[in-house]
């Protein structure tokens, strides 16, 4: 029983990390494309941008729904405490989602598209911003009482660090969105996004460097964690690998490769994710509450592995299948029929 109450929360931490990663990667390029659409010069271009996502965006967003449901079931305390602490950024994100979704539904039908363009672009931006603030606030730490209930203030989530994280996340989304569009589009549109990808690669790098340096300086808990044996070696390797990946990415962009930039960007996301995961683990509400304290009963975690865990390969398979069905370049801007 003892080992169970140790292992099960770890398994669920891993599963939720996988869901969150898939979400950040997949909806990341959706949101990135949405943010990029603000700068689109013509309606035709904007239509192609939206068409490139029209088959996928809802399934991509569903990974977040899945992550939310899993967190609710596996770590109910964390679900309640974190979302309460982040009321404002989460609400921002939710409104962003609503406007993005209705833009997908209604823009195609509308004669005057300005409002729906804004709904799509600004909605995507707002959702990304809310997520960035939320991530920044969780990394910075949430003030809780000994039972793990939120006791902080309404605006605790807002700090220069969370602003920095939010801006970097948006850059990251723009980067993965740009490289996705390089893969999915042709000609002028592709050219444009070689440029945006290059800019975003540099700005993301800048943000990442700032975060990497400032984290151990300003947070004692993170500092202790970073210099722990044997993790210190991993944390030493991550920035090196990061620089390597960025240079590969920039090279592939300079060589005008079509798929490599997207792949390098995904690897960058993986790397960042592993880094953040190692900083946070085993805490689920940093800096006080661990996954063991916040976990549901072991029997719940087992039943969830049976009911959800075994579906993960199936879900991965059919999601991959739909990407295969809709492979290839997007050239036209009509997805209605």
């Amino acid at each position: 029983m003892e080992t169970l109450s140790y292992f099960l929360p770890q398994i669920w931490f891993g599963i939720l990390a996988l869901f969150l990663f898939l979400y950040v990667m997949l909806d990341g390029f959706d949101l990135g494309v949405g943010i990029l659409s603000i700068t689109s010069s013509t309606e035709e271009r904007r239509s192609i941008l939206m068409t490139s996502l029209s088959n996928f965006w809802d399934a991509n967003e569903t990974w977040l729904v899945l992550m939310g449901g899993g967190l609710f079931g596996a770590f109910p305390l964390a679900y309640g405490t974190i979302l309460t602490a982040l009321y404002i950024p989460i609400t921002l994100m939710v409104f962003g989602f609503i406007f993005r979704a209705i833009a997908f539904e209604f823009r195609e039908e509308a004669k005057r598209k300005l409002f729906w363009n804004l709904a799509f672009g600004v909605g995507s931006f707002t959702a990304a911003l809310g997520q960035g603030f939320a991530l920044g606030a969780v990394l910075k730490g949430i003030k809780v009482d000994p039972e793990g209930h939120f006791i902080g203030g309404n605006w605790d989530w807002l700090s220069w660090q969370s602003v920095l994280v939010a801006l970097t996340l948006i850059q990251g989304y723009v980067l993965i969105g740009s490289t996705y569009l390089i893969w999915k589009t042709t000609d002028e549109l592709q050219e444009t996004h070689y440029k945006t990808a290059k800019i975003a690669a540099w700005t993301t790098l800048l943000g990442a460097i700032f975060i990497t340096i400032s984290t151990p300086i300003f947070y004692e808990s993170a500092r202790n964690r970073l210099f722990q044996q044997p993790l210190v070696y991993i944390f030493g390797i991550i920035p090196v690998l990061g620089i390597l990946l960025i240079s590969q990415l920039l090279t592939s962009l300079a060589r005008k490769q079509e798929r490599a930039p997207f792949v390098w960007t995904i690897l960058l996301f993986v790397l960042t994710f592993i880094g953040l995961g190692l900083v946070v683990f085993p805490y689920i509400i940093p800096p006080e509450i661990t996954i063991y304290e916040a976990a549901a009963d072991p029997s719940s975690l087992v039943i969830m592995i049976v009911f959800i865990g075994f579906l993960i390969p199936v879900m991965l398979f059919y999601n991959l299948y739909q990407y295969i069905v809709f492979r290839g370049k997007v050239t036209g801007g009509h997805y209605g029929e």
Partner: protein
């Protein structure tokens, strides 16, 4: 205006608003999903291209609904954490798991295959496409299964007990198969299907009234009617069973549904109030119209009650639902609509049997077609009023007789909730207006008969339908009726 500074009341209003508005869209996707399975099956079987065009046309409405359903559903999931954190923490062991099941069993399936169903006609072969359509319908309806399981468990918590403020599950399958579960799932399944059938029938009737593609829309009209033959009466019966389980498990809710303040003893006939004005302060109805001796027949199909019907006064005011009038009239609205829809179905069957739906005669049935048009929105009202009965009637509990609503809400500043509630209200009004506007535009434009039919070398238009038939109506909207 005290409630403006009351976090609990505002959080309840916000959840009620998001739930009532959200529910409208999945209703159509779950019901129309099944309809699309029927239509596409008919196409594959008969190879009649009309069914293919039907599948394309109704799928377009499906798509319009799905995105809005996703957009309005996400706020609900997150509200459990943002606004109801103590509740989430207390019931996470079971309720949270079920929300996770819904996402993994239902949402993902529906979302992933929806793309293929809508846009994959030329990319996959017909068998795979049909499989996708079936999986989308299964996904949508699994969503009904899990959500109603979760909500039923809130009504009749089973399979465990509260220990130190947390629900500890002893038996998951008992919790899933809680007393309310089976009938509630069936009731909601039938509700979404029935509503969708009457929407499809109503839209088809509009085309028939407008003399547009009559033969084409007679088909969808008749299919909707044929399925409704089974669904509409069955729903009334399942509704009765649902009320019966409320009678046994949640007597306070039943008392509110019937505005019954005093206990009616067993072994005697009891009056049933048809209309009343409940007065919560005086604990009586200010006036009421009663039908003598009817309640026994309604609850048990016999004159005398075998169990007492407890009156609201049996509970202390803080232990019973307060909004008696809302529950009472919501219940009557829902039941009334159930009978109106079933009545329309029976009337239409009669016409059908008399041969009045033949291609020459169907356009003459103006009043019947109008009746279908005007009943099309009623199912939605029935569903929302039904949920009001179910969840307002459950008050003052979130987890029935275990956790109170006041103890379930997050301790957050009321101003936060006020701002987000205002945001949701404005956004949802905009959403409903835009949906109706674009939805009616899609309907006015009508089906596209110029789409290539997969698997045919030369695509010929179907029998009496030619692509050039539709001339856009340039008159102002008011003049078009």
């Amino acid at each position: 205006m005290d409630f403006l500074s009351d976090t609990v009341v505002l959080s309840r209003m916000q959840f009620a608003l998001t739930a009532c508005i959200h529910m409208l869209w999945p209703t159509l996707t779950t019901g129309v999903g099944i309809y699309l399975v029927i239509i596409e099956g008919l196409w594959l079987k008969t190879k009649n291209p009309d069914y293919y065009y039907h599948a394309r046309f109704w799928a377009k409405l499906y798509a319009l609904n799905f995105g809005v359903g996703v957009a309005t559903g996400i706020p609900m999931e997150f509200q459990f954490g943002t606004n109801w954190a103590p509740f989430s923490e207390a019931v996470g062991n079971f309720f949270g798991s079920v929300i996770g099941f819904e996402a993994s069993w239902a949402f993902m399936l529906e979302a992933a295959f929806l793309g293929i169903m809508l846009f994959g006609w030329e990319r996959v072969n017909p068998a795979i496409h049909y499989l996708s359509t079936i999986l989308v319908a299964i996904g949508a309806n699994l969503s009904t299964l899990w959500i109603l399981t979760a909500n039923s468990w809130m009504q009749t918590p089973a399979g465990g007990e509260m220990v130190n403020g947390k629900f500890v599950v002893h038996d998951y399958f008992q919790a899933i198969a809680n007393p309310f579960m089976a009938k509630s799932v069936l009731h909601m399944f039938l509700a979404t299907l029935e509503t969708s059938l009457f929407v499809i029938g109503g839209i088809s009737a509009w085309y028939i009234l407008k003399n547009r593609n009559i033969a084409f829309f007679s088909k969808s009209f008749k299919i909707a009617l044929a399925v409704a033959i089974a669904v509409a009466p069955l729903q009334i019966y399942v509704g009765h069973l649902s009320a019966e389980q409320v009678y046994h498990y949640q007597p306070a809710k039943l008392a509110a549904m019937e505005a019954q303040w005093n206990t009616l003893p067993a072994g005697q006939p009891a009056n049933w109030s048809l209309l009343a004005l409940p007065n919560n302060k005086a604990e009586k109805n200010d006036w009421e119209i009663v039908i003598p001796k009817a309640l026994g027949y309604i609850l048990e199909f016999k004159e005398k009650l075998s169990e007492p019907v407890l009156g609201l006064k049996e509970w202390k005011p803080q232990d019973r639902p307060r909004l008696v009038g809302l529950i009472y009239y919501s219940f009557r609205t829902m039941v009334g609509i159930g009978f109106v829809l079933a009545g329309l179905m029976f009337g239409s069957i009669l016409y059908w049997l008399l041969g009045k739906f033949s291609p020459e005669k169907i356009t003459e049935q103006k009043w019947l077609m109008r009746a279908w048009m005007f009943t099309a929105p009623l199912g939605f009202i029935a569903i929302d009023t039904g949920w009001i009965v179910r969840c307002v009637g459950r008050q003052p509990w979130t987890l029935y007789e275990q956790i109170r609503t006041v103890d379930s809400a997050s301790h957050i500043p009321a101003s936060n909730v006020l701002v987000s509630l205002t945001g949701f209200t404005v956004t949802y009004i905009l959403l409903v207006i835009a949906y109706l506007y674009f939805g009616s535009r899609i309907i006015r434009r009508g089906p596209r008969f110029d789409l290539p039919v997969p698997g045919t070398e030369i695509t010929k238009p179907a029998i009496d339908t030619t692509p050039g038939e539709f001339v856009p109506d340039e008159r102002p909207v008011e003049a078009q009726q």
